[in-house]
Amino acid sequence: MVMLSKLLGFTKAWTLPATINNSGASLFAIPPAWNPALRAVVFMACLAPFLVLVSAVASNTLGPDPAEHLMHFTGEWVIRFLALVLLATPLARYGWPRLARYRRMLGLFVWFYATLHLLVFAQVFIGWSGEQLIEELAERPYVLVGFLAWVILVPLGVTSAQAIRRKMGRHWRTLHKLIYAVAALGWLHLLWLSRSDVGDAVVYGLIFLCLFAYRVRHAMTNASAKAS
C-alpha cells in the first residue's frame, strides 16, 4: 500500500486542484458557476442506464437468467464511468473546462453502479450469505479484487462532500488518487473474468492505459517546465 501511494503520489498534477491552485503551465479555468440545465441533462444521462435496467426488471425482459445480465450490465457501466471520470481531466485541459465540474458527479456514479453491482451479487449469487461471501473472497481472486475496488470507493464517495473536502485540505487529493487503484483493480477484475474472449478486457485496458499514460506524460512535462 505504501508502494502504491508512492507510485500514485509521485505526480502532483494528476488531479485538478493542483491546476487551479498552482500557476503551472497546464492551468485552466473552471467555470465558476454551474449551468443548472446542463447539470440536469448530464445527471439524467448518467442515470439512464439504471433506468433502463429498472424498466427491464419491471417488465421482465431480461430472459431466463437475469442474474448474469444484471451483473454484466452494472459491471460494464462501472468500467465505463471509470473511463469517463479519468477522461474528464484531459478533456477539461484541452478546451472543455466545464467538464472538470462534472468529475465529482461521474465519480459518484462509479460508486453508484459499483454498489448496484455488489447488491446484485449479494442477491442473486450468494443469497446474502456472509459465509458464502467469505468463501468467494477467499477462493476467487477476481471477486476479491472487485470487492477491494468497491471498498476503496467508499471513502472516496464519502469524502466527496464539499464540506469534508475543504476540511481535508491537501489530504483530499492524496486520498482521491486512489481512483487509479480502483481503475486498475476494476480492469484486473474484468480480465480475470474473461473466459475465452478477451475483447472487452483489451479494449478497456487500452483506454485506461492511454488515460494513465497521459497523466504520466503531463506530470513529466510539468516537472521539466518547473525545473527550467
Binding site: V57, N60, L62, G63, P64, D65, P66, A67, E68, L70, V120, Q123, V124, F125, I126, G127, Q132, E135, E136, E139, R140, P141, Y142, L193, R195, S196, D197, V198, G199, V202
Partner: protein, 325 residues
C-alpha cells in the same frame, strides 16, 4: 450411498408400457400445449432458424432416473439462453445467429478404433434409432441449471453399430467448424482452438444415461441447441454436452478437450457435477434453477453428480474426485 450402477435403471415390464392410444393422446396434448406456448410468445424476437419437426418417441418412464420429477424449464427459456461459442459468447447469441448454420445435409464421421468405420447422415440419426424421451437436469458450470425433456437414443446404440475395438478406451467428439456460417469462430479476440472438442471415457459413453440427442420438447433440436445431433451427459457440467457433432472417434488415449486446452486449472476432463469441488470462477455449491429472476433467484443446492450418483458414482470408485475434476 450403496452404488448399484446397472440395476439403477428401469427394467420395464411390458405391462407397464404406456398403451399407444394413451401415448398418442398425451402427445396431442403436448402439441396443443406447445402451440399455446407458441401463441403466448408470438412477440418474442428469438427467431426459429428452421421449422423444427415433430418426432416420434417413447415417453420417459415415471419414477426413474430417465424422468426427473421436477418442473420443466420452458421451451423458450431452454432455447434462448445457450452457450454455443461458435455463434458468440453471449447467451442470446446462439438463438440470434445460429440459423446461419446449414444442418441439412449433415454427415457424422465415425472412426478411430472401430471395426466398421463409416458415416451417419441426418436421416440415419432421425429415423435409424428408437427415440426416447429423457427428462434430465442440466447443470452448467456457470452455476445455472435447467430441466429439459430431451429426445434421443443411447450413445451405446450408436457406438455398437460401428463395433468399437477392445483397445478403444475413450470416445472423442468434434463439433462442426464452418467459419462462413459461424460468426463466433471469426472473432479475432476469441482464443478457442476450433473445432470444439469433447470426450468421454468408454464406460461413461456406454452408460445408459448418456444420450445422443436429436430433439427437445418433442421436436428436433433448433440450431442453437446443437442441431442436428448433440451429446447429453446429465451428471456432467454442460460444456461436456458437445453440440452439432460431425465426428466421433474411438481412441485409446484420453482425448484433449477444448476447455481443458484453454484453462486446464478450471476445466477437467471429467467435469462431473460436484458441489464439493470448487471452481475458480463459480461456487459450485448452489445453482440458479432457470427461469430465475432478480427478486426470486430460485437458488437450489447442487447435488453430487447432479443427482445421478446412483447411476454413475460406480464409474469413479476409488478415484480422487478433487484431483480428477
Amino acid at each position: 450411498m450403496p452404488v448399484k450402477p446397472w440395476n439403477a435403471f428401469p427394467q420395464i415390464a411390458s405391462s407397464e408400457i404406456t398403451p399407444e392410444s394413451v401415448w398418442l393422446n398425451r402427445r396431442s396434448l403436448m402439441k396443443a400445449a406447445a402451440a399455446g406456448a407458441g401463441l403466448a410468445t408470438a412477440g418474442e424476437t428469438v427467431a426459429e432458424s428452421k421449422p423444427t419437426l415433430e418426432l416420434d418417441y417413447a415417453p420417459a418412464e415415471d419414477g426413474t432416473a430417465f424422468k426427473a420429477a421436477e418442473m420443466l424449464t420452458p421451451y423458450d427459456a431452454a432455447t434462448s439462453y445457450n452457450n454455443f461459442y461458435e455463434f458468440g459468447t453471449d447467451k442470446a447469441d446462439p438463438a440470434r445467429y445460429a440459423d446461419t448454420m446449414t444442418t441439412d445435409p449433415w454427415e457424422i464421421k465415425v472412426g478411430g478404433l472401430v471395426n466398421k468405420p463409416g458415416k451417419l447422415h441426418l436421416e440415419d440419426i432421425l429415423t435409424g434409432f428408437d427415440l426416447e424421451e429423457r427428462i434430465y437436469r442440466f447443470r452448467c458450470v456457470e452455476a445455472w441449471s435447467m430441466v429439459v425433456p430431451w429426445i434421443g437414443f443411447p450413445l451405446s446404440a450408436l457406438l455398437e453399430r460401428f463395433e468399437p475395438k477392445a483397445e478403444g478406451k475413450f470416445v472423442e467428439f468434434k463439433t462442426l467448424y464452418r467459419r462462413g456460417e459461424m460468426r463466433g469462430t471469426r472473432s479475432f479476440t476469441s482464443v478457442i482452438d476450433w473445432p470444439y472438442r469433447e470426450g468421454l471415457r468408454m464406460d461413461e459413453a456406454m452408460n445408459p444415461l448418456t444420450l445422443m440427442t436429436v430433439g427437445l420438447y418433442g421436436k428436433t433440436l433448433p440450431n442453437q441447441s446443437g442441431a442436428p445431433l448433440r451429446l447429453i451427459t446429465p451428471w456432467k457440467y454442460g460444456f461436456k454436452n458437445i453440440k452439432s457433432i460431425v465426428e466421433i472417434n474411438v481412441t485409446d488415449r484420453q482425448p484433449r478437450t477444448s476447455w481443458q486446452d484453454l484453462a486446464p486449472q478450471e476445466y477437467g476432463f471429467y467435469a462431473n457435477v460436484n458441489p464439493e469441488v470448487n471452481h475458480p470462477r463459480w461456487s459450485q455449491g448452489w445453482e440458479r434453477r432457470l427461469p430465475s429472476s432478480l427478486f426470486n433467484p430460485n437458488r437450489v443446492r447442487t447435488q453430487i453428480f447432479n443427482g445421478y450418483a446412483e447411476q454413475v458414482a460406480g464409474l469413479y470408485k476409488g478415484m480422487d474426485l478433487a484431483r480428477y475434476y
